[in-house]
Symmetry: none
DNA sequence: GATGAATGAGACTTCATTCAT
DNA sequence: CATGAATGAAGTCTCATTCAT
């Protein structure tokens, strides 16, 4: 049953990647089998090996793909006179995304499983991963700098540190209150939490107007 | 003599558990072998099977054991008139512990790997785990309630929600800046972060004195 | 046009055969893949299957082809009054060939790998192979007979046996001192060995003149 | 079905080695499976993997073991005033061994398959193999030297070269007329051949008495 | 209590072969 | 003629688990 066109082939590859995402969010990497990934999309193990060198490679390609499509909309961090409000809007958009899109949820779960990635995978993906984290973080960092420059934000804090703090805080919130195959999550309202945090941080960071 | 033997047996069992902690911190559960656990303490696979029904059981007993010894010192949440300061002190102590104790670090890593635990393990451990989380959380919750009662804390927030928010925030901080076998941690100062957070949250939660 | 195509087809087939010789000389038959054979000549696996029924068939055709072109020059075994000298000249020419031609070396290696040929291959090729061995051997045999008839060679030896002995002796020499992918050959001078052998055998075979 | 005693374990290992010898003489290395080796002696695949790291390791141990037990009886190369006769006796004994012992035959076949050994195997075994060949060769070499010293052998030949020539010659004879799974051997009498060769070489090597 | 041999299920991979295009 | 996608059989290897001693 040989697919012929380049197009169909690419489609198969994508179907396999999607299948992998599905399965790999559902269970630990070590319990995911090539067979399973392939069968889910009506292919044979061999097909998977045609498109990917091995199991690791699937995960790698998957991660690289997801790194690109995940993250909030960077445009939200542009064009607003109030830097802090921009940051707030950005994270709120991420929460929205998470709430609405099953896919986004899955991506989150996949990344939560990163401790199980084989070193091989991790090494190849490290750069992308870092970039993904950095991208977000540096956008936030720049927004804070901007705020410091135009007098909206305290000057005695390190933009770098604050941005990574915020990243960590949201990481924690997504991890604990987001989709979690083990603790099937509460009925917590992430938006409410975000509001509280931004209210608090916002005040704490606000430059004291003379 | 029999007494002696029983003691020795318990000791062996503990040695195996410690070995398991070591190894399971180091690599994904699926790549930890019974052999490895046993060999690390100069014992044979068979011995491990004498003390534990199977591999899952080791993990289960390990988790149960750790649930008891982990967590901050609850006494810190007692006996201070300022409720919020108590909470602050409590988390700071956890950070200290983490900084000083390799063991505490390992425990953290082990729990970060929880997504890989087999359902079997998870089910049996769920209650303990929840309790561990709840214990801390409810202590914090109670401290907040107390604060609300004696007028130190705003009354329009849910103690429940705030306590889980704080938990999540610290979870994020530990996860990202704490020990992490994959991203070998930066030189971030957790205490500085904690200070910032408590400053911000403290103000936000303070009851507005008329 | 059709003519052209047929020619081209034959050329492709030959290129595949040459590639197969190359690869099959380099590693055990079982580790040679169709892909490899085809890729070496810038073709796809599928193309190879158009020209050959399967992998076995390639080896078969290869062997048949090589059987024809290998062996020393039979003309050397003709037209000399001294039969033994003819034999000697014949084998010397084989050594020369071996020394000068990489291709001849490869053929030798290929045949050294014959124990790995699948029964299927072996059965189909047996006749050719035997013929190839016999051809040489019987030429030598005839030369010996001739020598016996004209009184140059002892009459109490079996030409058959002597010819196969000589074949075996040279087989050993080629195998041990010839090209060998495993023991990358010494700096032995095959000619020197051949000289010694022929000196010794020559004397031993010479008819005792009354 | 756990065997207990060290002894029994060793026995199992040996049985596996013998089984491997059996199977590996019967077919190319690549077509021999672990399962087959184990099943032949009523064991499971797992048992084989308990005793040997992997398939390669079986072959390696097998070869090392056989290197020790193969070869002619070196005592035959001692204590005779006629050096050449000693060499002759030595090779004759090898032929005898071959004729009488099925095991010896198998060893020969195994070694004839050496071109198929994976590089890994070959590298580890190379030294032993060389030693095995060298041992024999150097014994012969010494015998020739001895002969040169006491005036029985021509002084203008290199003992080194002559000994390797003899080795090659016998290699060829064993290979072609010995057991051969592909050309199921003739009814040739190896002894007759050996006689002829030694007669010829003997005369050729004899020191010309003034 | 402890050991180490043995089992067997299950996963990863490789590749000859087929076939639609 | 040629390509390249897909299949499926077969083999290697790992390990949790069992069990006789």
């Amino acid at each position: 049953m040989a697919r012929r066109t380049r197009e169909e082939s690419l489609e198969t590859k994508n179907k396999l990647l999607e299948s992998a995402l599905e399965v790999m969010t559902d269970k630990p990497y070590s319990r995911v089998t090539m067979n399973e990934i392939a069968e889910r999309v009506g292919m044979s193990k061999g097909a998977a090996y045609w498109h990917f060198k091995n199991k690791h490679e699937i995960l790698i390609e998957l991660i690289v793909m997801l790194c690109e499509e995940s993250g909030g909309d960077p445009r939200l961090l542009e064009g607003d006179s109030d830097s802090f409000r921009k940051i707030r809007r950005y994270y709120i958009s991420r929460i929205d995304k998470q709430k609405q899109s099953k896919r986004y949820e899955k991506i989150n779960i996949l990344f939560q499983r990163r401790l199980e990635w084989p070193k091989e995978v991790h090494d190849k993906v490290y750069r992308d991963l870092m970039q993904r984290i950095r991208k977000e973080q540096s956008m936030v960092e720049m927004a804070i700098c901007e705020g410091q420059e135009n007098g909206q934000v305290r000057r005695d804090v390190s933009p770098r540190e604050i941005s990574s703090l915020i990243a960590a805080v949201f990481f924690g919130i997504f991890a604990l209150f987001g989709p979690n195959p083990l603790y099937p999550g509460g009925d917590f309202d992430l938006l409410k939490y975000a509001d509280f945090i931004f209210d608090a941080f916002g005040k704490e960071l606000k430059a004291i107007q003379a």
